[in-house]
Symmetry: C2
């Protein structure tokens, strides 16, 4: 297996947490990695036995995506994508600037055959059930109906590989379950999805189905998908805080927290979107994981583990077979 290129400079807590995650993946999974970053950061890591590539620039979180990829040619992010293009790496992982990661993957790796637009697939944890894949969750804020069919095809392969589901149930995100409900895009895409024999289409689904066991893949435009994701993220954060506050309130607070926390902490872990290491840009010629800016070492470890598994399963070949023209 070719190594994975890791953007050591990307993320709110880079390079520290990225390197920690990489170290863990190498020792526990035997992961082969190329660490890409500023020379003073990566060169010492060569002594630990890592393959490294020095890059003289860093794309910052607030940099404009398109222009930074064009202008910072020797940035860690662009170099990662080039390693994939040059077949020196099977994939890249970055917790940096999402737009720039997407742009460098698109520009340097290019699209898989027939793919009109790559899309971001995100896994939403569902307590006690298989996570739901939301695609597109941010790559394309405006989409055409036929693209949604390709998103559905790619999302199906991804869900199937990641969670070993033979025929993932695919729904289109709408308002109202009945056929005919929704905006123009949904109404136009519905019959196309219905006619697609490569997916297991179950019709319209609603926002409440995202965090439920009623559907495996939710297809939508990248604007709506991103809003859904961020809404859930905000709700989880608000709730976790207020639940803890309430449990710890009052005289018996410390006692209640002592009893309740061991039961609730594993749940927090299950609900952690970092469980699969981040969002996956599907439709480019290589694995491309875009991890959360605030990724922990565990998230980076998980991103590496997930990527290795998907490379091993031949995800790209399966995507190529799955996508219709």
């Amino acid at each position: 297996m070719l190594p994975l290129a890791i953007d050591v400079m990307g993320g709110d807590n880079a390079p520290g947490v990225i390197i920690d995650g990489a170290r863990q993946a190498r020792s526990e999974l035997g992961a082969e990695l190329i660490l890409v970053g500023l020379p003073e950061v990566v060169n010492p890591l060569a002594d630990e036995g890592f393959e490294v590539l020095a890059a003289s620039e860093v794309i910052e979180m607030h940099d404009d995506a398109a222009s930074s990829v064009r202008n910072k040619r020797d940035s860690s992010l662009v170099r990662c994508a080039e390693l994939v293009r040059e077949h020196r790496a099977s994939g890249m992982i970055s917790a940096g600037n999402t737009g720039a990661a997407m742009a460098s993957a698109l520009l340097k790796m290019g699209r898989l055959p027939k793919v009109a637009r790559p899309a971001i697939a995100t896994t939403i944890p569902v307590p006690g059930a298989t996570p739901t894949v939301v695609i597109d969750s941010g790559a394309n804020s405006e989409v055409m109906a036929p693209w949604l069919v390709q998103f559905a095809e790619m999302g199906s392969v991804y869900s199937s590989e990641l969670f070993s589901i033979p025929a993932p149930r695919v729904g289109i995100l709408s308002i109202g379950e009945e056929r005919g409900k929704g905006n123009e895009l949904v109404k136009e895409a519905f019959p196309l999805l219905e006619d697609c024999d490569r997916i297991n289409f179950v019709g319209n689904v609603e926002g409440r189905d995202v965090m439920s066991s009623s559907v495996d893949v939710v297809v939508c435009d990248g604007f709506t998908g991103n809003v859904v994701l961020k809404t859930l993220e905000g709700a989880m954060r608000t709730l976790a805080k207020v639940i803890f506050d309430r449990l710890s309130s009052g005289e018996d607070g410390p006692e209640v927290v002592r009893l309740a926390l061991p039961k609730l902490l594993p749940l927090m872990d299950e609900l952690d979107p970092d469980s699969y290491g981040g969002a996956m840009l599907l439709g480019v010629k290589g694995i491309c994981v875009i991890s959360h800016g605030s990724s922990s070492p565990k998230a980076i470890f998980n991103a590496i583990a997930t990527s290795m598994r998907l490379v091993d399963h031949g995800l790209l070949d399966k995507l190529v077979s799955a996508v219709s023209a």
Copy 2:
């Protein structure tokens, strides 16, 4: 104050819970109500001292909105809207078919001057802070940029009246906080909102801001708004269940539940979207509350209380002054 027209037949548990809510509002708030429904349901209520109006038909939850309003002219829902049009009621409340409630309000009451499209305002509870108003949360699945300005103006008035906020912070729902991020609609609406001196525009907000104290009014198209609402609804339901399951698991489960429940139940209450009785269709010539199909008597009581307060505050006049052409 003119009475409120109550659609006694609308909702999953109608007419029982609707009547219970109405009884409570009359005894506790001295609410003046006209109960509208099938004769065998409402006529006995006249003996209790309620004003009643018999209607021979009922629009069912699954009925097509437009055609049912056209064809079932003697339905409780249509009669409620007519009472408002005829100035016999100041507003209507229904927990029935949302589309049909919207259609009858539009058709019978008509739009306020200058309003291009009425929109649904929904209050999202935020623990420990003022609720967030999301507008439009379902009336218009396709919108034009200038409509969003009117939604912002109406949402501001609503938030201000309901929560006594002098200058509610208005954000437009987007992906990315920076100006220039978003889909075409957001990019077109942003400068229009910025130029509107009738609102306190704070720029782009993201999904995670909806359930936070960082914004008071979130403006969006009705498709995205409805998806946000349903996503939160689903997440809350899933989480409430799994948290209870985990707390009650294990040998000490019953003890932990006994201690934790009194702390968490009030929170469930605060997070209950029924706290304000339902969604409000803003921009028609009358108060129009569309309550959740599964509304409890408490939800109907709250809908009546909220409506009385808004009538008392002269909401409609304030909306007329607030909306720019």
